[in-house]
């Protein structure tokens, strides 16, 4: 077992983990934060996207010991109490989701995208979400949601 310290959604944790456990397993199983989804477990779908030290990562590809000392934000860390994050609010209003399985990852990728590029072009939106599959929406309302989130975040 390996001892790690991580901060998740502002809360510090000291955990003892199997060295080969992934950050995704730690988040979902040890911390019980099941909002982050596992679609493939091998870095291909983006459903497990979280933000680690400001960058979006596929949590299924990060080994837990690599996350030692890092700050992590998951989908559960975005809303302030009842108040949704502007990105969540935009997905909610525009309908950028159907089954919702890709949604936490999509929203986290959008978070990282808008942090870097607050006013993305259509091309930048598509590029920014390239690692996140969605099988339900045909992406159209997701793109609209990202544009709306960008407008809301700048208001």
């Amino acid at each position: 077992m390996k001892e790690i310290r991580i901060t998740v959604n502002g809360k510090p944790y000291e955990l003892s983990v199997r060295p080969w456990a992934t950050l995704l397993e730690v988040i979902r199983e040890d911390l019980g934060l099941t909002g982050t989804k596992e679609g493939c477990g091998v870095g291909e779908c983006g459903a497990c996207t979280v933000i680690m030290n400001g960058k979006s990562v596929n949590a299924c590809l990060v080994l837990a010991p690599e996350a030692d000392g890092k700050e992590i934000t998951t989908i559960e860390g975005l809303a302030q109490g009842e108040k949704l994050d502007p990105i969540q609010q935009a997905f909610y209003e525009i309908g950028g989701l159907q089954c919702g399985f890709c949604t936490p990852g999509m929203i986290m990728s959008t978070k990282a995208l808008l942090a870097e590029t607050p006013e993305p072009t259509d091309h930048e939106i598509r590029k920014g979400l390239e690692g996140n599959f969605c099988r339900c929406t045909g992406y159209t309302k997701i793109f609209e949601s990202v544009r709306e989130a960008s407008r809301k975040s700048r208001r």
Binding site: K37, V42, G95, G138
Partner: protein
Amino acid sequence: MDYAVIGTRVPRVDAREKVTGTAKYAADYSLPGMLWCKVLRSPVVHAKILNIDTSKAERLPGVKAVITAKDFGGWTWGFMATTRDEPPLAMGKVRYLHEGIAGVAAIDEEVAEAATELIKVDYEELPGVFDPEEAMKPGAPVIHDYRPNNVSVEYHWNYGDVEKAFAESYIVREDRFSTGRVTKGYLEPPASLAYYDPSGSITVWAAKQSPYFHYRHLAACFRLPLSKVRVVQPYIGGGFGGTKNDSVAGDFCAVMASKKTGKPVKFIYSQEEELMTSKRRHAMITYSKMGATKDGLLTAVQAKVIAEGGGYTAIGPLSMYLAGASIAIPYKLANFKYDGYRVFTNNPVCAAMRGHGITHTRFAHDLQMEMIAEELGIDFMEMRLRNAIDNPKPGTVYRTVNDVTLNTCGMKEALTAIKEDPIWAEREHAPKRVGSTSFGVGISGTAYVGGARQLGHQSCAAVIRLCEDGTANLLTGATDCGQGSDTVLCMIAAEELGMKLDDVVIKRVDTAYTPCDPGSYGSRVTLLAGQATQIAAAEVRKQLAEAAAKTWNAKPEEIQIRNSVVSLKSNPDKSMTLENLAKIASYSGSGAVIMGKGYSSYGLEPLDFKTGAGNGGTSYSFTAQATRLGVDLETGHTTVTDFLLAHDCGRPLNPIGAEGQNEGGAVQGLGQAIYEEFIIDQGHTRNSTFLDYKMPRSTDIPDIRIIDIITDDPNGPYGAKEASEGSHVSAPPSVMSAIHDATGIWFKEQPVTPEKIVKALKEAGKWGK
């Protein structure tokens, strides 16, 4: 029409939970002391199972149960009484690669996995057969003894006189079309948490889009009354037919292991397991012969369809029915002959998927019609307009030669909307060539059945319970697997009750409490559960109106309820809140419990598999689609820039939802047309990961516009028909038509990959030119 809720743009009722990550899916459930289940899978494609030795696995510390086929006592399931050929785990014989052989339940996933590797199985390998046309030949390896010719389903339908019609035609064409091996591609792999409790009842939290199928499977398999099987519905990470309509090896093993150990047992398939083993769309070959007059009017169609079925029958009888029954829509056709064969192969099992059955033949026939138009020198739009079925006058029906009846048909209106849009009208002015990219615009006009039926129980039901504070609970057995039915059903209840949308709360399906339902397939939920909800709400509203009338000494007809406010039509000053009325109604006299229930009655014709006559559902949607794309004549790479869909869904009740269905359906159709295909080599799937399977990504998506064609069908609530599967069916032919426009080449095989384009360009002497 003056609706308060229907037709308005509202957020999904589950949106908040889904954007905050609090929506729970099957994999998110756990119980104290639960075990993990893993399935051992076959490394061979076709073999006799001589022996299974589980002793080593059983001795591994942490292993609590090992399950094999013999635990299920020979039970098998299937779509029809005559096709129950599928066991929970391979029984005596393996029929496709990675078929489930055994299940292990252990204290954690790693131990369970390790134990599967300790199970020793002796196989006697048999020659396999992987191509349906090969499998039909005499002497081919036999996959099921009960079907010595490997044909699992066979139909021969004949309408009119095709021979005479071909003889009299000005032109007759024969072509071979094929659709590829594609899958649903949802992100949530199959998962379930199962508990066989000490009272002898089963409870499962399972990722099922049709939980009542699973409920019946479990009752039959474990020989329990239905009243002792409880399927609780978590949120579902996408369905699209196939696997999540059905039960998988993990489901049966988890329940059996729970029965044996007394502990809850959970399994989650890996995405690779899903992609390697689970039920996907049939790949179909369509040999089509089509005739037309000099003016391009269709005279006859003869279609021989050969479908790859994989190792078991599954829902194949319905797939083959749909492929044939839709031949005479959306174009007038007096003569057709259909010979459908579904053939066993040693590949994974094929079943339903969005666009079920219809996508194959509509693709073939829409394209073949264009080929004929080209030979006759008729504009492709004009060809379709000449042949499209007219919208029947209200109160009349259009009847096809095989007795499919249309109350409404927006095909011509949809085609006209595309015709007038600049994407088609001004296509000659758009750039044709930029660098090595040649641009093209293509169209399609297709139909799809909604409110589909299967065998056995058909109707959807709803129960509405009024709460004394003027809010309501809606219960239905119909499942929202992402398509948005919970939202539209709440909208319908709110509309009928005069209640604010937020005051109607829907509960997830729980077979212990919600009314029985066939399942979410065949674009049926809005129509049938929608009608049931309307009826249930009307019953509640009637009781409320009676209570209000009594209070105000008025007649119930004079009571108006809208936006949770009750008033008297003749005297708007008389009003009260719905909360107030709910209290009056609930507390008066000895007290009343205000509830309403209803079940659907649309579409009760039985399916006729023998002749293909009649309706497979309640109503039909029509879609015209234009696609603009560019083909790089050097690399063969296709970039799709625009989709325009004119879609007749009767009336969109939940516009955001209907748009989302059309967008998602069309993009899934795009995947099937140019990107996606399993590469299966001698039964071995070579691309069993998302990366290699290639579903459309954000960077592949065209700009999509939707035009609603309103036809108000009498067989749907508020005039609604289906949305989603129609747009899936319209996409492939319109993409092929556009690729033809860009390259001058007809591609008749899906998917049209860059390799195929380059090869065809080379053959035509057009490569890089």
